[in-house]
Amino acid sequence: MSHLLEVEHLKVTFPTYGGEVQAVRDVSFYVDQGEVVAIVGESGSGKTVTVQTIMGLIPTKNIKDGNIRFNGKEILHLSKKEMRKLKGSEIGMVFQDPMTSLNPTMKIGKQIAEGIRKHQKLSKAEAKQKAIELLRLVGIPNAEERYHQYPHEFSGGMRQRVVIAIALACNPKLLIADEPTTALDVTIQAQILDLMKDLQKKMEMSIILITHDLGVVAEMAQRVIVMYGGTVVETGTVFDIFENPKHPYTWGLLRSIPNLHDKEKKRLIPIEGSPPDLFSPPKGCPFAPRCPYAMEICVEKSPAEFHISNGHTARCWLNDPRAPKVEAFIAAGRE
């Protein structure tokens, strides 16, 4: 069975005055039909660049290597025109900051109808009707009146609903959501996530969800991709990642979640150090300098991909049978 989306050995770099930033280094993953896949990792780990590459928002000259197959078709080398047919129709995208993702001088209805008119042969009136239906679908009351309003007349949560409506305008097979709730109030976050979950079931689409929030991952996703320093360090089902994580970076992420049920007051546990310099990435494991279990080989040689169980892989030498056994949860991070 073929996957809906397959990313293989993707490599993206950006030239800067200081040299070439290797933002994404050999990233591979897949997304199946109807599946929610979360990508987690700290800022600068290459999450956003990866999904923007899928979306065709990164200039092709920056894409150095790799394949992206969508629905069995190679899309990385499509012409701009063919890519535009895909964007907004088969793949939709929800951006991080709803306050700046909408054109401030255009009525929101028009911003939704615009995409519909581009991809479907509909009259103006039909596109408007469809846009109003979409506004209702994403839970905006008085859709008909709201159609004629401008973004500044909407609250942050309402704007994100509009952004979602834009992304869903042509019933995409894949929705990419790049930290869709980071810029929102906590109460609104839950509403937006519920909405996305609900719509995902109704429309039977796949979602790639980028987030910092492991709570959101547990709530929404079936599978998780953990990224660090431009590479995928661990991937597996939500259960694999939460119950049986096999990479010290994943341990650190899990340990840094504050626990409400702790009896005694505890300090938050950070992962010490800072992410690697992507101008000249280390030849070994990118996490080695921060890893409390780093061995000699970690600095010397980039870790191989170890298959832990079906679909669960980790790029860490600790999974080699010759490596010393460590107790994951207790020892990760430093007290």
């Binding site: 928002l57 047919k85 907004g88 951006f95 401030p104 001088t105 255009m106 615009e114 995409g115 500044h152």
Partner: protein
Amino acid sequence: MYIVKRLLTMIVTIWLIATLTFIIMKSIPGDPFASDANVLPEEVLQNIRAKYNLDKPLPVQYALYMKNLLTFDLGPSIQSETRDVNTLIADGFPVSAVLGLQSLVIALLFGILLGIIAALNHNRLLDHVAMFLAIIGISVPSFILAPLLIKYFAVEWKLLPVASWGTWAHSILPSIALATTPMAVIARFMRSSMLEVMRQNYIKTAEAKGLSPAAIVIKHGIRNAILPVITFIGPLFAVLITGTFVIEKIFAIPGLGKYFVDSIFNRDYPVILGTTVFFSTILVITLFLVDISYRLIDPRIKLTSRGD
């Protein structure tokens, strides 16, 4: 409510400008008849002064002028026996206005186009070419550009008339000469504003909808980028349509521009005041129109006076 308040402030502004101009004007040494003082006997001079009310104390002169201003009477011109200031403006303004409007259209059209082209080709050849042209446009003064235009287009290639005013062909060279500098300034404004806008997230949203680059620039880029240019158009419009001394002089155009300068040399008090009041009225009105057009372009801007 906003409009009523705004109109009142406009009237007060014009009154303040008239008053200040009156004070400054009267504090320049000399008077309109200084050059006649050696030729004419003292009694004649006094008679002439009395005719123009110049023998009365300043507050009285001021009161008389303001009274006339209320009836839109700008008074007689001291230099011209036959035409009063109202006639001067009525004769000169239409000429200057045609010239100015044409220049404004040229400056806007090409300035905005050049700016967009430069921004979309950021740091590439077309950008450098456009900005090179803009720098030339800003740094070459119109009194150099105008003779060059005349030399080639009128004298050597005989395509257009050398100077003077009459047919539309007469207006082409002066319009271009007048438009060059504002066009260059607009191009630079538009470029930086467009660069800013094209980096915004909503442009990414538009790209993610699969819109073509042209649709993105036209529907999402230009409208957001044009606001700073609009700000600049207000004062520019007032300056251009009320005539410009240099261009009108070079092309021998019977516009309003020369009166601004000549009247000051001649201490032609009513013309100084008249042209200033006329200019400020046009300026204040255009600024008002610009503020209204902001509202049309950017729905976030609300026209309210403080306290509303």
